[in-house]
Symmetry: C2
Subunit: 292 residues, 2 copies
Amino acid sequence: VVRVSLAGICGTDLELRDGYAGFAGVPGHEFVGVVETAPDAEEWSGRRVVGEINAACGACPECGRGARAHCERRTVLGIRGRHGAFAERLVLPVANLHEAPRSVPDEAAVFAEPLAAALRLQEQVPVAPGTRVVVVGAGRLGLLVARTLALTGCELRVAARGPDRRSRVEALGLPAWDAASLPGRWADVAVDCTGRPEGLAVAHHVLRPRGALVLKSTHAQPAPLNLSPLVVDEITVVGSRCGPFPPALALLAEGKVAVADLVEATYPLDEAGAAYAHAARPGALKVLLRAT
Amino acid sequence: VVRVSLAGICGTDLELRDGYAGFAGVPGHEFVGVVETAPDAEEWSGRRVVGEINAACGACPECGRGARAHCERRTVLGIRGRHGAFAERLVLPVANLHEAPRSVPDEAAVFAEPLAAALRLQEQVPVAPGTRVVVVGAGRLGLLVARTLALTGCELRVAARGPDRRSRVEALGLPAWDAASLPGRWADVAVDCTGRPEGLAVAHHVLRPRGALVLKSTHAQPAPLNLSPLVVDEITVVGSRCGPFPPALALLAEGKVAVADLVEATYPLDEAGAAYAHAARPGALKVLLRAT
């Protein structure tokens, strides 16, 4: 049992509200908190933790091959069969917990989950110095993904709509391009962080033949995707979800990925409705909920 | 200039007729013929050849990285900016030609192009003994793809609709599964050879998380693809088009991939309309056009 300190609202939470995945419990899967009770109380009680969101069975074929995030019988914190972090307390297996390093304040530790998800991309698609990468979408997810990619020395651009959005990207130290006038066939890797059909189209446009189009957002609605160009250009589309916590925590501890400037507002838990409305504003950055 | 002997009708030809790619010239891109004239006439005249369909500029970035099939300024035989093989003669750069081995009759050599395309898959996705592979679609393309995959020692199944189609698959020496009742999450690799949204859905269903979904068919119409499951299951979708001719010709010469039993009918060129109608029948195998 973890007493939640701080939780983050993610695009998936907004989609869950709109019916995605048919989830009807307490949402929330980005959190930092303090262990209240645990099977090994001496070991865990009072530790400040973040947590991996997939609770796996340990026995199915996917668990057998080490893909616990794909366990057939998994529950997922705040998404599938398990109440989430927008509450005073949540419950996760001890195996899912990681202690938050002392040097990482709650306001940064709450980013462990989305930062891990951003890092997942680099486990799936090679990104190296010289690789041309375009991140489509300059919201909370796109900027976080862009910051992890910037560490690789790749040729990075963030595609954003409108001068305000682009100024914000540049103010955060990232190179911005106008999403409406991207060059065609430029990128080796394009990452859709918009979760919208338009974003997908932009990502496809900027991609060179044989490039990789990474889907980093869930889409609440089926998108009409024109498949023939994927075949003709031999594009690889890569779905990307949860990632590794230890490197995410290390990056936060070392200050190599800044997150403080990605927080737009913090609401108390009993104002969750207003917090959701804020998070749903176009282009909103991270909105946090303070539970205790 | 190649005098066409025999040409094959492919699903793409039917889609071109229905408006795909906006092509208005002579279609046809699978052929075997005899060189009539060439810049180096002494070297080439009278040789029996097959041909790669992408005529590249040799100077653009894609050509520079060796991806001539993706040349920005390419013409494509019978598909884009270049009249094709459903004619008495066609024109291709000498660089595109491969001599047909003596031991390979016209009726087999005409399969060089689709066989090369089938082999392309194995350049993109690792397939080895033990890899579980499902080919969705038991038409001319699916069966050819399945035969190339059978060479790898993978655990192969061909998903076909209806008992007649499955009997045909089994009569060709391939293991058949009912497309309507495939197990979920079974395959490491699923190959859509149907070009239809239903086929894509079947391929996705049979695929395990983190599996590869290969698109081997062009789709004339945009398909509404539900993207969230691709993200949640971290599926990789791989577009796959043209492949290497030398191994295709070697397999035909060595008799390692049978093709004679994939020919359903041969029509003279002046009955091309009837040939198209035949090729468009559901589940039709290869229909050939004899030009000379």
